[in-house]
């Protein structure tokens, strides 16, 4: 035992309950999932045939499983489309809210930005079903005014993908905006005003002065939003159930289908473990690359 940096008994008692509970409800099930992923574990057949140990069979068949690859690709396409949109819009909103003037309206909009984030995800899905409905949805209607004819948002594979993207942007752009806004307020006011006297181009100020201060916020957004999109389930489940066909079947929906509708728990666990590894690797990469310059 070292002298200073050891576990004092009181620290142990403070920490132990939380650590033990999280080990039991968090880590133990994860290990159990890893163990299951090495078995052939098809629920309806377990009673009769048991669950034989098959080593890495599930992982091997994953490699050649085209639908899994497609679900992963779809998820990354979704990520690559939505994350930049949300970051750019979020930065724009943050800059607008950071700009002096119109204080009352600014306060109101800051409060309103909380609404999308607090809305129950399932209810966001309900709103999407309502607004994109083929017969009476308001977005369908407004869009038909632009195009001159009606399009079926949730029945067309590409448009269904666009509509879940729109709902995701609606819900999470405010989060990006609020995180970036609080980063912007950390820029020392003298520095910012000096910069504004030098140039009247806001993007110069953004790029040269404010960017270093909002980089931590951007990293946090990249990490959290990536994790959230890999998790994304509720909104899609209610709006499209992954359809039409499998056009909006992102990875969480896909694994849920394999595990709880096809009842292939072994395979689903293998997919889930692969996905967990991917999300960890991604967040490492973000930290390494975004933080390189600091």
């Amino acid at each position: 035992m070292t002298k200073k940096k050891t576990y004092p008994t009181h620290a142990f008692f403070f920490l132990a309950p939380a650590v033990i509970v999280l080990l039991l409800v968090g880590i133990y099930p994860l290990l159990f999932a890893a163990w299951n992923s090495l078995h052939e574990f098809i629920l309806p057949r377990v009673a009769r045939y048991g669950s034989p140990f098959v080593w890495f069979q599930n992982y091997l068949s994953l490699l050649s499983d085209q639908s899994f690859r497609e679900a992963l690709t779809r998820t990354f396409v979704f990520l690559l489309i939505n994350l930049p949109i949300q970051l750019v819009l979020g930065t724009g909103i943050a800059l607008l809210l950071h700009k002096p003037g119109n204080e009352l309206v600014k306060n109101i909009s800051r409060v309103c930005l909380v609404i999308p984030m607090a809305t129950t995800f399932a209810v966001v899905g309900l709103m999407g079903r309502l607004m994109f409905n083929n017969d009476f949805g308001i977005i369908t209607y407004l869009w038909s005014l632009v195009l001159g004819h009606r399009v079926e948002w949730l029945a067309d594979p590409n448009l269904a993908f666009v509509s879940i993207s729109i709902m995701d942007c609606w819900q999470w752009t405010p989060f990006c905006a609020l995180v970036l806004l609080s980063s912007l307020t950390m820029v020392p006011i003298e520095v910012e005003e000096a910069a504004r006297l030098e140039t009247d181009k806001w993007w110069h100020v953004l790029w040269r002065v404010q960017l270093p201060f909002i980089l931590p916020g951007i990293t946090a957004i990249l990490i959290l939003r990536t994790a959230d999109i890999l998790k994304m389930f509720d909104v899609i489940f209610i709006m499209t159930r992954g359809g039409p066909g499998s056009a909006t079947e992102l990875i969480s929906i896909f694994i849920q289908r394999v595990g709880f509708r096809a009842f292939d728990q072994g395979m689903a666990s293998a997919q889930a473990i692969v996905m967990l590894v991917i999300s960890i690797v991604l967040s490492r990469i973000y930290i390494r690359f975004v933080y390189r310059e600091i």
Partner: protein
Amino acid sequence: MTTSQPDSNPALRAPRLAIGHLIALLVIIALCVFPFYWMVTASFKDQQDLLAGTPRLFFQPTLENYQRAAANSDLVVGLGNSLVVALATTAMALILGIPAAYALARFEFRAKRDLWFWFITNRMITPIVLALPFFILARNLRILDTWLVLILIYLTFSVPIVVWICSDQFRNIPKELDEAATLEGYSSFGIFWKIGIPLAAPGIAVSAIFSFIFSWNELLYALVLTRDHARTAPVVATNLMSGYELPWGQIMATGTLIVLPVIIFSLIVSRQLVRGLTMGAISLSRVESRSVGSCCSGGFAIPMFQRR
């Protein structure tokens, strides 16, 4: 949100810009509120107004949908279940999380940062990864479709939230207070109880609200782990969306009932909520940047426990 002083350098701002700024802000407000507004108004429309091909902005409001939603015993039970589960989860998360947050903020010990990081990354675990094994474990233990199983699995995200927000809050309490209290003869538990908790109350409240909102909003776990007894409100709403003749008005009334308490709640505390959220996000990236080289992430942070 304290820094924005009105017109700090008015010379640079032309009135034309201020109007553009105002319009942009109003557009933001409209976009944020519109889907919510549209759902609420839909819940007051009768079937004919609701299903009109040309959306109707003006209509004769009716309470019919709410009467039908309230008559749906599933929804009433679901709201009750949601409330019990969210409250119990929050209470448990506070009981477990506050002392842990305090220890992480105040005491010095080995692998402290790794432990903190491990708590936080628990939140990053994708729910479906846990839902699969939890389903089988709960089935074997015969606790499927109970409040207990939901509370247990909700702890996986609510304890990290509490630890995250509260440890930041505890860190802001001056250490001199502790030293003074030690001289007064307080034990370390006494310091925690009499000084730490009262001074960290704002942070604790925010983390409680977060934990409540996240538990209230959760769908995937509830969908997978419950059948009829412990069904939560979002699951009930999901179940309404099947079949051909959808009762749209009733569905929108249900959605409004589910979401309204949370929205009102979070609007009241929006300032603290935003602070908690962004503080958490930024402190996350700060710490992660420091521990790039260290080993742990996600569920694979176990090795550090062996170092003990």
